[in-house]
Amino acid sequence: MKNIFFFISLIVLCIGIYLKFIYDVPDNQESINFFVSWFLIIVSISSMLINLFWKTPEQKGQD
């Protein structure tokens, strides 16, 4: 489950990077593109970090 979540986050990160650096943004849509691309990058990185730090009750018990 954690691997699937990580993989989805990675795909979202790639979409964010594509929108930020490769996609040819039409006129007057720079603000939307700026927001959406950075939103996807931030959310995907933070979800990867949360995925990394997340501990199930069993893992907490072992600690």
Binding site: D24, P26, I32, F34, S46
Partner: protein, 216 residues
């Protein structure tokens, strides 16, 4: 009881690092929203404008219909891939445009703008002008196309649209020149009351004939 139960489960699953990451994400999204659409969005737009673009780098004298005019050259360095040089009359008031890579000018009642225009990859500049840009102009009160022609400006494919319109009941004429670029196109718009059309035509031709892309 329910709150205690939820709090117990929350503490059981969450750890401090997750909470910190979550809190930082929320803060980052709030800042991003302000920076994109809120009061900080002007900071982002201004950050792209290079102050050097507003400094004239050289001057030259030229004669237009027996009048001597000094032209100042400006190197616009706002957007990489779209650096260009343009000359404006020395006495004209030059300001930064609304968007990076642009200028606005005011010269004896003659008003003008220079703007970068993004043309989608799946079309040509001419098709874009006729299918997208001119239909927008047609919404201007009293719009009437007077001339449309293809030009070559300093080796660049260009198009020029001349039209009449009404502003506050007064007849105006505008010359809009589009120059093809490697990344974006440039649009030089100069307009004046119909009575000043000859003067405006001379100034417009000086300005657009001085235009050069620097990346070519």
């Amino acid at each position: 009881m329910l709150i205690c139960n939820l709090s117990y489960r929350f503490n059981n699953i969450m750890n401090k690092k997750v909470i910190v990451v979550f809190a930082l994400t929320v803060i980052a999204i709030i800042v991003l929203t302000l920076y994109s659409f809120g009061p900080l969005s002007n900071v982002r737009k201004r950050a792209k404008m290079n102050p050097e673009s507003l400094k004239s780098v050289s001057s030259e004298k030229t004669a237009v219909s027996n009048k001597s005019i000094v032209l100042n050259a400006y190197h616009n360095r706002d957007l990489r891939e779209n650096y260009y040089t343009i000359k404006f009359p020395q006495v004209a008031q030059i300001h930064a445009g609304n968007k990076p890579g642009g200028y606005s000018l005011n010269y004896n009642g003659i008003k003008g703008t220079v703007e970068l225009m993004d043309v989608p990859d799946n079309t040509t500049l001419e098709l874009y002008i006729l299918s997208q840009d001119e239909p927008k102009l047609k919404k201007i009160i009293g719009y009437k196309r007077e001339d449309y022609k293809k030009l070559i400006i300093n080796g660049n494919e260009s198009y020029q649209l001349t039209y009449a319109s009404k502003i506050n009941g007064e007849d105006y004429k505008t010359i809009r020149t589009y120059v093809v670029g490697q990344d974006m196109a440039i649009v030089i718009t100069v307009s004046s009351p119909q009575s000043d059309f000859t003067d405006m035509q001379n100034i417009a031709s000086l300005v657009f004939n001085s235009f050069r892309w620097e990346n070519k």
